[in-house]
Symmetry: C2
Subunit: 144 residues, 2 copies
């Protein structure tokens, strides 16, 4: 029995409501952002900071930023694995670059740091319009 | 100094060659698969098994499988985080469902298990045609 994520009728997959999905995302610093690039799908790991309903990440100039500049739809995915359970949250929304200096300073003060010590000065905000989450109870696979 | 992943000139990001990227992917069981669905981008966590140049994952019927059935291009992403370093590998290729029973049995014997104890009988193979990897040395961010 999982106390935090009770699965009714021993179902191995529990669909999470928005509140729980946001809670998991808010407590996560590491995610991936995916979007349709010019000629193919792009996916990158990012450090995130969540202020419901917005998720922020920092980036250097490049394809990620290009997506944000034109307001492309992006998908954020975060997950967590333990030996006996796991979860995954997917959040969708439009990405835009933060341009107001006060906004940028505020988000930095909240602790949004990039992975590596380079000059990644651009902050991207994703206004999430849809979130979904799943919790998985691991177990043996019933081979047919 | 990172002995396994030496970064020349203290550069925080090290681009990995194909051999190292395959090695990281091969030692990883947990990844995400992303692809363009009917009307939007889809991304799911998956357990993977890698036999260069193929990556296998299991799935129940649904959008993931639909992608595999029609041979859609998919992107697999895996990453690993430590307090002082991290890595990310992205592999691209076409997905197809394994239909030969002997192939399916072989992959299962190799240890490809799904996350949850449901009847996930479909095995998807991604023939990887492009792989890329990055290693990150974390550190303080030089604020301008």
């Amino acid at each position: 029995m999982n106390l935090m994520f009770p699965h009714p009728d021993q179902e191995p997959v529990l669909v999470l409501d928005d509140e729980r999905s946001w809670k998991l995302l808010t407590h996560t610093r590491h995610a991936r952002v995916a979007f349709q690039g010019d000629d193919r799908l792009e996916i990158f790991p990012v450090n995130i900071l969540t202020e419901q309903p917005v998720v922020y990440f920092r980036t250097a100039p490049g394809s990620k930023l290009t997506a944000a500049e034109v307001g492309l739809p992006v998908v954020l995915e975060a997950d967590g694995m333990l030996p006996d359970q796991g979860w995954s949250v997917v959040a969708r929304g439009l990405a835009r670059e933060l341009t107001d200096e006060e906004d940028i300073r505020r988000v930095r003060r909240l602790g949004l740091t990039p992975w590596v010590p380079t000059f990644k000065d651009h902050v991207v905000a994703v206004e999430v319009t849809e979130i979904s989450g799943r919790h998985f109870a691991f177990g043996p696979h019933p081979e047919r």
